[in-house]
Amino acid sequence: MQRATGTMSTLVKSQAMRRAILRPASAVSSRDISTATISTDENLALLNKQRNLRPNSPWHIYQPQLTSVSSIANRATGVGLSAGMYALFLGHLMLPAFGVPFDSATIVSTFAEFPEWFKLSTKALIAFPAAFHTLNGMRHLSWDAGKLLDLRTSYAAGYAVIAASAVSGGAIAFYL
C-alpha cells in the first residue's frame, strides 16, 4: 500500500514537472521568451554582414582526374607551343635587323654543334607537348562534333591520347 502511494506520488510529480516545461502557448507568459523584431532591410543588412565574413571553401583539394588534368595540360601545352612559335617568328623578323643572323640555315647549323643530350632534350621538350596537344585537340574536336561524349568513351579516348602522344612524341624526338 505504501509502495503504491510512493509510486503514485513520483508519477504525479513527474507529470507536474512535464507540465511545467511543456506548457501550451497560452500558458507561457511573454516574460519567458524575448525576441527582437527587425525590418526586412535590417535583416538583409545583417545577412550581408555575415556573408562578408564567410570563407570560400577550398578547391585545390579536388582530386586530379583524367578529365581536368588532360584539359589543363591541353591549355598549358597550347600556351607553351604558341609562345615558342611567337618567339621563333619574331626572331626571324626582328633579330636580323639587330645584326644577329637568324634564318633556317643558321639555326640548323648552330643547333648541330650542341651536345647530343641538349639536342635530344630540346627536341623532346617540343615533341611531347606538340604530340599531346594535337591528339587531344582531335579529341576535343570530336566532342564538338557530338562524339565521345559519354564518360566511358571520353576516358578511353583520353587514355588513348596519352599513350599515342607518348609514342609519337618519343618517335619525333628520337628519330626525326
Partner: protein, 268 residues
C-alpha cells in the same frame, strides 16, 4: 513415436534459439573494433576570425552504418553535436548532403566508407562556395542561376482537347537523363570554369536544365531560351573539361547536354 520425437527435435533446432529454449547458448560475437579517422572541415561563424581547419574524429566502423552520412550523423550524435551539415532523405534523391569526400563531389548518403583503416577520410564542403558553417555552403547563387533559365513549361498554344500537351514517346525519351537531376550542385562545384567565373557562368547543372526545357517538344519558347545564352559567359565558359559528368552522383551527363546546347546555338 520415433517419428513424433524426430519432428519435435527438428522443430526445436529450427525455432529453439528464437523462442529462447534452454539450449546451449553462445554469447553473440563482439565485432572487432575497426577505427577509422575522419578529417572534417570546420568553420564557426560565431568565431569568424578562427580560420577554417580540419578536425579529426575516430569512429568505430563496426558500430556504424556503411555510408559516410551514417558516420557524420554518428559523430554529431555521440561525439560532437556542433558538427553542422545538410541532410534529409538519406537515399540519394534529395541532394541535400552533397559534399566533397576524398577529393570528389558526391552525396554523403550514397558514398560507402572504405574499410581500410590506414587511410583517413577527408570531408570538405563543395569547392569554391561561400560557407555558412562547417559543411554547409551558401547555395543562393546556384538557385538564382536556376531560376534565371525559367525552368517551367511555357507552351505557346493551348492543346486541342484543352486537357493535356501530348508528346510522342520519342520526344519524351529526349528528356531521359536530364529530368532526373536533383540539383545537388555536385557537378557545378566540380567545374573549374564555374570556380573561376561563378557569377557569370551558369554551370553544368543549370545549363543541363536549360537544355531540358529546350529539348522538351511541348515548350514553345525555345528561341527565347537560346537567345538568353547568347553572351560570352552564360554558356561559353564551358571548355569541355568534363569534371561534371565524372562527379554526378546520379550518373547523369551534363557535358553531353551542354554540347547539344552549343550545337543548338550554332544552328539557331
Amino acid at each position: 513415436m520415433a517419428f513424433l520425437s524426430a519432428t519435435r527435435m527438428f522443430s526445436r533446432q529450427a525455432f529453439g534459439s528464437a523462442r529462447g529454449l534452454a539450449t546451449a547458448a553462445t554469447p553473440p560475437a563482439v565485432a572487432a573494433a575497426n577505427m577509422k579517422r575522419f578529417q572534417i572541415y570546420r568553420w564557426n561563424p560565431d568565431h569568424p576570425a578562427e580560420k577554417p581547419h580540419l578536425q579529426a574524429y575516430d569512429i568505430d566502423l563496426s558500430k556504424c552504418g556503411p555510408m559516410i552520412l551514417d558516420a557524420i550523423l554518428k559523430i554529431k550524435n555521440e561525439v560532437d553535436p556542433t558538427l553542422t551539415f545538410r541532410r534529409s532523405c538519406r537515399e540519394g534523391i534529395c541532394g541535400s548532403c552533397a559534399m566533397n569526400i576524398d577529393g570528389v563531389n558526391t552525396l554523403a548518403c550514397l558514398k560507402r566508407i572504405e574499410k581500410d583503416s590506414k587511410k583517413d577520410v577527408k570531408i570538405y564542403p563543395l569547392p569554391h562556395m561561400y560557407i555558412v558553417k562547417d559543411l554547409v555552403p551558401d547555395m543562393t547563387l546556384f538557385y538564382k542561376q536556376y531560376k534565371s533559365i525559367q525552368p517551367y513549361l511555357q507552351a505557346d498554344k493551348v492543346p486541342e482537347d484543352g486537357k493535356e500537351h501530348y508528346q510522342s514517346k520519342e520526344d519524351r525519351l529526349k528528356l531521359d537523363g536530364m529530368y532526373e537531376c536533383i540539383l545537388c550542385a555536385c557537378c557545378s562545384t566540380s567545374c573549374p570554369s564555374y570556380w573561376w567565373n561563378q557569377d557569370a557562368y551558369l554551370g553544368p547543372a543549370v545549363l543541363m536544365q536549360a537544355y531540358r526545357w529546350i529539348a522538351d517538344s511541348r515548350d514553345g519558347k525555345t528561341a527565347e531560351r537560346l537567345a538568353q545564352l547568347e553572351n560570352p559567359f552564360s554558356l561559353y565558359r564551358c571548355h569541355t573539361i568534363f569534371n561534371c559528368s565524372k562527379a554526378c552522383p546520379k550518373g547523369l551527363n551534363p557535358a553531353k547536354a551542354i554540347s547539344q546546347l552549343k550545337a543548338e546555338m550554332a544552328s539557331r
